[in-house]
């Protein structure tokens, strides 16, 4: 744990939603640097919406969001990325008529050093060798899992301070999921912070320092994974028999 006490990201009483429906009814959440925070919760209760709010894809109705000590409610998505807040969205949103490699390079759009970009590209290719095979293919033909790999790889290319991953393991083979989480673990050591939406209980307990339960548009419960496991009631409800 870092000594710095102010969290990297602070969310206070955030309200947001879509035209005609408010989905988040006052979210409170702190994220400290160099930790992995997992968001869990039933489907359709606002996890994705929260990430979209944080990256500025949907507007805040009321509340406060501070990133690295600065309020960011009013800034544009691209400015937040420049400040180091990176979002790997649900559904990938790849650039369909660009090759795999061009998509990955777009991830490093803000990096002006070609050598550095190249290094990051190689790192991603080591993590996902499959992508290296398909580097020249347009993304609209990729398989579901390959898309996810490009999405995550593109997010990692950005080298952000806080990386938000929305269901990174969705559609991926077990072996790949394992590798991804290993990689995340290593990256936290080098000072990166992750906010991960994840449904897979095994993976969560492996790496998350903090787990927050989003339900009904609020953070219903927050705590360490030990606390979660020691509360049979909660783990029964959200993890079923596991």
């Amino acid at each position: 744990m870092s000594l710095d006490t102010t969290p990297l990201l602070q969310i206070e009483q955030a309200k947001a939603g879509y035209a005609g429906s408010v989905v988040l009814h006052g979210i409170n959440l702190d994220i400290n640097a160099s930790e992995v925070v997992a968001l869990i919760g039933p489907n359709g209760h606002g996890k994705t919406t929260l990430l979209r709010l944080l990256s500025g894809l949907i507007p805040l109705i009321s509340g406060k969001i501070t990133f690295a000590g600065k309020p960011i409610e009013a800034t544009d998505t691209s400015e937040r990325v420049r400040a180091g807040l990176v979002h790997v969205p649900q559904g990938d949103q790849l650039f369909p008529e660009m090759s795999v490699e061009e998509n990955l390079l777009m991830g490093a759009y803000l990096c002006d050093d070609p050598a550095e970009t190249h290094n990051r590209l190689e790192e991603v290719y080591t993590l996902f060798p499959k992508l290296k095979d398909r580097r020249t293919q347009y993304c609209n033909g990729l398989s579901g899992g390959e898309r996810r790999m490009v999405g995550i790889g593109r997010g990692l290319m950005a080298n952000g301070r806080l990386i938000m991953l929305d269901e990174p393991s969705l559609g991926l083979a077990p072996l790949i999921i394992e590798q991804i989480y290993q990689a995340l673990n290593e990256l936290t050591k080098s000072g990166r912070t992750f906010l991960v939406v994840e449904e897979n209980p095994v993976r969560i307990s492996e790496i998350a320092q903090k787990i927050s339960l989003v339900q009904g548009g609020k953070v219903h419960w927050s705590g360490t994974r030990e606390a979660l496991q020691s509360s049979p009631e909660l783990s029964q409800v959200y993890f079923g028999g596991h």
Binding site: K130, G141, S143, G144, G145, E146, L170, A173, P174, I176
Partner: protein, 254 residues
């Protein structure tokens, strides 16, 4: 009782052979789970059966009818129903209209020449919505649905066309453990009703729970075909696909 027969089925994209001479026979009333690394060609295989990707070589036969060269919509009416990995739906239409469309166009008995749909179609649609707990969402535009409901909707629309074989592409990807259990129960119920189901899934707990036969693909070919409990014991599968999860599964099973 071979029902769905694929002989030497092959699909290519440029120089890539996505499905490589697959021979597979699926029996009536069976539930087959397909697994395999990403990009192995699983989805493409289902695309071949449902007619979205043309066969490069080989043949496919369902219940004695040769499907080769038949357009997708005809296969759908013959009883090939499927769901999609990326949660496809008619986004600007309501849940009701989505199901109604499947009811009205999806099966051979549909009254295709009439300008309006029948009362029976309406009742069937409502019954399906009721059965899958979507009644509340009847008038919601599909683009506003959350993932679970979209998944359910796809299954409902697939079922609405009275399918002979149900092809599901990652039915539980992205669901929470409790939701997965719910879905497993649903599939088991369908199995009991006598449906033939082929599904793709990376969530092994689900696959082993509902399938009576597991098939693992790699580089467009089959590398495993057997009972689900055996997957974890196959070395190649463990190496290319499962990783440390294999050990865990073996642990779970013992």
């Amino acid at each position: 009782m071979s029902f769905l027969i694929c002989t030497s089925a092959t699909a290519t994209f440029g120089s890539l052979v996505a499905v490589d001479h697959i021979d597979l026979i699926i029996e009536r009333h069976s539930v087959v789970g397909i697994g395999g690394p990403n990009g192995a060609g699983k989805t493409t295989f289902l695309d071949l059966i449902s007619g979205l990707v043309p066969l490069r070589e080989g043949g496919i036969e369902l219940d004695g009818v040769v499907l080769d060269g038949m357009p997708a919509h005809k296969r759908a009416r013959l009883g090939v129903a499927r769901t999609f990995q990326l949660n496809a739906g008619f986004d600007s239409m309501t849940v009701y209209e989505n199901v109604l469309t499947a009811v009205v166009f999806g099966n051979q008995t549909a009254s295709r020449r009439k300008p309006l749909w029948s009362r029976a179609d309406h009742h069937r649609t409502c019954a399906y919505l009721e059965e899958f707990g979507l009644t509340e969402k009847t008038d919601v535009e599909v683009s506003r649905l959350a993932a679970l409901d979209r998944k359910k909707l796809m299954v409902v629309t697939a079922l609405a066309s009275d399918p002979k074989v149900l092809l599901l592409d990652e039915p539980v990807g992205g669901l929470t453990p409790t939701e997965i259990d719910e879905f497993a129960d649903l599939i088991i119920r369908l199995k009991e009703q006598g449906h033939t189901i082929v599904f793709i899934e990376h969530v092994m707990s689900f696959l082993t729970k509902v399938a009576d036969r597991a098939v693992i693909m790699h580089h467009g070919s089959l590398i495993f075909d057997g009972v689900p409990s055996e997957i974890a014991h196959n070395e190649t599968v463990a190496e290319v696909y499962l990783g440390s999860a294999a050990a865990q599964m073996r642990g779970d099973l013992s």
